[in-house]
């Protein structure tokens, strides 16, 4: 389900007119998800801040020619994702800098177009509602594992200890939950 016919984004119109307070309002609205998106790619808070700041600076530079009928959130998130990937490439040039999750980074680079399509789709209200619905429809024990691992940053053994279940049970709950959420996303945004 995609957004219906939309009018110009008021924030985009104000940005295009050079209204600096619109940039702050955009940060209020989308700064949190933008930071988490960058952090998910980089796993480094200062680097994620750099990526988000660069994206906002780039958006501000381009504001005079902004397409006000497009989704501002989608544009910002795509810029953040690209700046984060730029930093990943830059890190590889520093031999001493840690590069975690090499296979994930490879996926991020190989599937950039697809991931950005997902980012664009999830920036629409309709798909966010659908995904949030899928999250709420999970059995509580599966939702808890997703929230503690994805949002809370706890390791699987820490979750097992907190929930009083075996590590295998935690892995199984997470796998089932992510399969359901992937399916919900796949119906709309993935090929």
């Amino acid at each position: 389900m995609r957004d219906m016919v939309r009018g110009p984004d008021a924030l985009a119109v104000r940005l295009r007119a050079g209204d600096a307070s619109a940039l702050e309002e955009l940060f209020e609205r989308d700064g949190g998800p933008a930071f988490r998106l960058a952090y998910r790619v980089l796993r480094d808070a200062p680097a994620a801040e750099d990526a988000v700041q660069e994206a906002f600076a780039q958006l501000w530079e381009r504001a005079p020619s902004l397409n006000t009928s497009g989704s501002l959130r989608s544009l910002l998130m795509t810029m953040v994702h690209r700046r984060a990937l730029d930093q990943v490439r830059s890190r590889r040039r520093w031999p001493s800098a840690p590069v975690e999750g090499e296979a994930l980074l490879r996926i991020d680079e190989r599937a950039t177009e697809l991931l950005e399509r997902v980012i664009e789709e999830v920036s629409s209200e309709a798909l966010r509602l659908r995904l949030r619905g899928a999250l709420l429809a999970l059995p509580p024990e599966q939702r808890t594992v997703v929230e503690l691992s994805h949002g809370g940053g706890l390791s699987l053994p820490e979750i097992a200890s907190q929930e009083g279940v075996s590590l295998g049970t935690v892995k199984s709950r997470l796998r089932l939950a992510m399969q359901k959420l992937s399916l919900a996303l796949k119906d709309e945004a993935l090929p």
Partner: protein
């Protein structure tokens, strides 16, 4: 690790929550076997999508100041790459040694003047650091009056399951919890806590059991003097 074993942990790998040993085993398998790429793409996409759902969690306060400075031309990205936070840590150590001449259990205000790159001149930045005798290092950085504090830890062993590092501010004699975390296999951690640190407050780090009373501190392994 076999393909079946990998499939068990692939969601956790995509979320970045595997233990270091399992992460390394998953990496090794994925480097050799391309069978799981399409599933990993789906899981990665789902993980990014979940991040975009968490709209109620604000970005770090320090980032807000940097973005607010962009229209005035003070928000040029800081192009110092991977070395920036190491510079901060190194500066903290230098200041500690300069001010106190001995490292253990002390702290120092590094920059009370504000106005560094990307931060408005009116924003006062602070940086406090605790240093142990065996290379343990914990820094607390942020902007005065902001509701988040960025904590960097280095040289602290990763604790076994069931234990966590807990960070405290000692406010008017009362121990107030800043947050809790565990370090990675390399002994490091970096992240933000929703906590407004006031200047002049003493700081401490304890090791706690996850089942312990979250408001009752144990013996500190690092703390400010006095």
């Amino acid at each position: 690790m076999t393909c079946d074993e990998l499939l068990e942990v692939l969601p956790a790998y995509a979320l970045g929550v595997l233990e270091p040993e399992e992460q390394a085993a998953a990496e090794a398998h994925l480097a050799e076997c391309g069978e799981h790429d399409s599933e990993l793409v789906e899981l990665r996409a789902t993980s990014l999508a979940l991040d975009l759902l968490r709209e109620d969690e604000p970005a770090p306060e320090s980032l807000r100041a940097r973005v607010a400075a962009i229209p005035a031309g003070h928000g040029a990205p800081r192009r110092v790459g991977a070395s920036r936070h190491w510079w901060l840590a190194a500066a903290a150590v230098v200041a500690l040694l300069a001010v106190f001449a001995a490292g253990w259990g002390t702290h120092a205000v590094l920059d009370g003047g504000g106005g560094t790159s990307g931060v408005p001149a009116s924003a006062v930045q602070y940086a406090y650091a605790l240093q142990g005798a065996n290379g343990e290092f914990v820094s607390f950085t942020g902007v005065e009056g902001a509701s988040t504090v960025t904590v960097k830890m280095a040289g602290l062993s990763r604790l076994p399951s069931g234990q966590l590092y807990r960070l405290w501010a000692i406010r008017d004699g009362q121990w107030v919890k800043i947050g809790q975390c565990n370090t990675n296999a390399q002994g490091g951690w970096l992240g933000d806590f929703a906590f407004a640190l006031n200047s002049g407050e003493a700081l401490a780090v304890t090791v706690e059991s996850t089942s312990a009373d979250p408001q009752a501190p144990g013996a500190p392994i690092l703390r400010t003097q006095g």
